[in-house]
């Protein structure tokens, strides 16, 4: 995983709450067995509308998605994270993320930064006025900055550390392999096995 310290880019203001992962990527696209190439599937149903914000040329280079609360609810599909990343997003800002989506993002390397809803509203207004508005998301300082606007964001300490170090979770866990082996010896005999 690539290290993430800070990112500066333009914003896609998505004025929606409860954006579930079926909206981020419909089930039809989950039949693919590869991990990349999902950019065409992102917000597929909404993209059919030419007025949908993602279709507006002035926002085509956006790398920071700013969206309403309860982002990423529903299905556990990590494809939702992959499609956002494949499209070019590095960061999602929301006032509330669904648990599984946030977990998946941390594993895959997409930064989900939780900011207050009034900051979201300000970023929406600013980026609607100026699509080229440059926003910086600084993981080290845990800060979002856009012009005069500076606001803190929340992110899990451990996830932040992993993202800043670009560390692979499985490798981290395998440092404790002997403990796993010890634990396995204590597992009750009546617990089921599948083979």
């Amino acid at each position: 995983m690539e290290k993430f310290i800070s990112h500066t880019g333009s914003v896609l203001p998505l004025r929606r709450s409860n954006v579930d992962t079926d909206q981020i990527i419909p089930a039809e696209y989950l039949k693919r067995i590869t991990r990349h190439g999902f950019e065409d599937a992102l917000f597929q149903a909404w993209r059919k509308d030419p007025d949908f914000i993602l279709n507006k040329p002035e926002y085509k280079d956006a790398t920071i998605l700013v969206t309403g609360p309860e982002f990423g609810t529903g299905s556990s599909r990590e494809h939702a994270v992959w499609s956002l990343m494949d499209y070019g997003f590095k960061v999602v800002l929301s006032s509330r993320f669904a648990d599984i989506f946030r977990g998946n993002s941390g594993k895959a390397g997409l930064v989900t930064a939780e900011v207050a809803q009034d900051v979201i509203e300000k970023l929406w207004a600013l980026s609607e006025k100026d699509p080229n508005l440059q926003v910086t998301v600084d993981l080290d300082k845990r800060e979002v900055q856009a012009g005069d606007l500076v606001a803190p964001f929340q992110i899990d300490d451990y996830v932040r550390w992993r993202l800043m170090e670009g560390l692979d979770d499985i490798g981290l866990t395998l440092r404790h392999e002997s403990k796993i082996t010890e634990f396995e010896k204590t597992r009750a005999a009546y617990k089921p096995v599948t083979l």
Binding site: D20, R32, I33, S75, I100, N104, A188, V193, T194
Partner: protein, 465 residues
């Protein structure tokens, strides 16, 4: 202070704990299906890793398999490639798989319980958010993403941050015609789609105790629709009776030892939950959704709400967008909503008890000429049991379509889909835009409301038919 059920199960699975790090939990059972696993197996291959515990892993084909012509090769080539990938991975890594045509094939959350693999006190994961279903047994069960699937395959553990706990106490007795589905739809309407975020929900109270295992699974299944990764119900005699003599349930002395342990799996009396919600079952009428998230639900006796009645701006905008998408007018009676399709099935309501309840209403009646009804058993075994009880004959005589097991129209990954603008009453779990097919409109309902609606052609309760 005592401990909650969730805390007890959590603590008994800690492999490693350190300040500033998530707890590393051991996973007792890993359920795998074709959609969220191929990239995880690719990851293992790329790193030269093996599956650590093939004996704690089981695979089934469910999400994109067809529900007709299952003896023929899958017609959709992309779906076929994905199912083939699962079969190849099973072979390469030495894993148990229930393929299309196998007697144990079916929806992953129907298969685990029916085999007796889902037991109290276990940690159970699957690359599917409805893994919360297995919490009905007093297991800590939750959905994971593909990176986590790979992590569990490689290490049989997961690094996790502790959850908070929320008690959902359902007092009283459900009235005739109301079901477990109505309890959970009412819970979600009350706490909203984000209300359970960061929590494990524990369902308790008289109305929960009175439910069958099937009903409890329906409730725990939809915990995720309230934002909670897991829902749990303390095991009791109902749980033990369900598990006894199932294929993977403990036998003989092991059974006694297991039950003695299972009986300790309840929240201590002096325990305080981080949050508590109380629901009165006595006055609970059947619930149906009007919008495009599972929190947008009301009693079937109510009207479609007016978006301007919501004080919160986000909710107001969401309601407005939902009514536009659903093509509904504020103020119209929920019961006046006409549907084109009725879907009975899914990991929420595709078990034998659900099929029995719907068949009892449809017996000797006809599905309205304006409605197509699709009945999809949750597993091949549910289908066989239904055959033995004569249920398919009742569905077919009523004019419904009886299918083979799978996720089917719940998520429209296989050919069973709504067409744009088509409206369904569905016993599944999500009414998201396009969930059952692009442009499709979904109303979530109980199996009883589904059956009654199929007969009248508009959202109805059994007392109307």
């Amino acid at each position: 202070m005592g401990k909650t059920l969730a805390e007890k199960v959590w603590e008994s699975h800690i492999v490693h704990q350190a300040e500033g790090e998530p707890d590393l939990l051991f996973i007792d059972l890993h359920l795998v299906h074709e959609v969220t696993s191929p990239q995880a197996f690719d990851g293992l291959r790329a790193a030269g890793r093996k599956v650590r515990r093939p004996d704690l892993t089981v695979l089934t084909e469910d999400h994109n398999v067809p529900t007709i012509d299952i003896d023929k090769p899958i017609a959709d080539l992309v779906s076929r490639a994905q199912v083939d990938a699962l079969r190849d991975n099973a072979k390469e890594f030495g894993l148990k798989i229930f393929s299309l045509g196998d007697i144990d094939q079916g929806i992953v959350h129907v298969v685990g319980p029916q085999l007796g693999l889902s037991q109290p006190g276990m940690t159970i994961v699957c690359g599917d958010s409805h893994t919360s279903t297995h919490g009905a047994f007093g297991a800590l069960a939750f959905g994971i993403g593909t990176s986590e699937v790979e992590h569990v395959l490689a290490t049989q553990t997961l690094p996790l941050k502790p959850f908070k706990t929320m008690a959902i106490t359902v007092n009283g007795k459900l009235p005739e015609g109301s079901t477990a589905k109505d309890i959970i739809l009412a819970v979600i309407a009350k706490i909203s789609t984000g209300g359970g975020q960061g929590y494990v929900l524990e369902y308790r109270g008289e109305a929960i105790r009175a439910l069958s295992m099937e009903g409890r699974m329906t409730i725990c299944n939809m915990s995720i629709e309230a934002g909670a990764r897991a829902g749990m119900i303390a095991p009791d005699e109902t749980t033990f009776a369900y598990l006894k003599d199932r294929q993977h349930a403990p036998q003989g002395k092991d059974w006694d030892e297991a039950v003695a342990y299972w009986k300790t799996l309840k929240t201590d009396e002096d325990t305080k939950f981080d949050a508590e919600v109380i629901i009165d079952a006595n006055t609970l009428s059947p619930f149906v959704t009007w919008g495009t998230n599972p929190g947008q639900g009301v009693s079937i006796n109510d009207n479609v709400p007016d978006p301007t009645s919501f004080s919160n701006e986000n909710e107001r905008t969401a309601a407005q967008k939902a009514l536009e998408y659903m093509d509904l007018k504020a103020g119209m009676k929920m019961r006046d909503i006409k549907v084109d399709t009725v879907f009975l099935g899914s990991c929420t309501n595709g078990r034998i008890e659900d099929l029995r309840a719907a068949a009892a209403i449809l017996k000797g009646k006809k599905v309205a000429s304006t409605v197509r009804m699709m009945v999809v058993p949750g597993s091949a075994k549910v289908a066989i049991q239904a055959e033995q009880e004569g249920l398919p004959a009742i569905f077919k005589a009523a004019g419904a379509d009886w299918r083979s097991a799978g996720c089917s129209m719940c998520l429209g990954m296989n050919p069973d889909k709504l067409t744009p603008g088509e409206r369904s009453a569905s016993t599944s779990n999500r009414n998201f835009e396009g969930r059952q097919g692009p442009g499709g409109r979904t109303h979530l309902v109980s199996p009883l409301v589904a059956a009654a609606t199929a007969i009248t052609g508009h959202l109805s309760t059994p007392d109307e038919v």
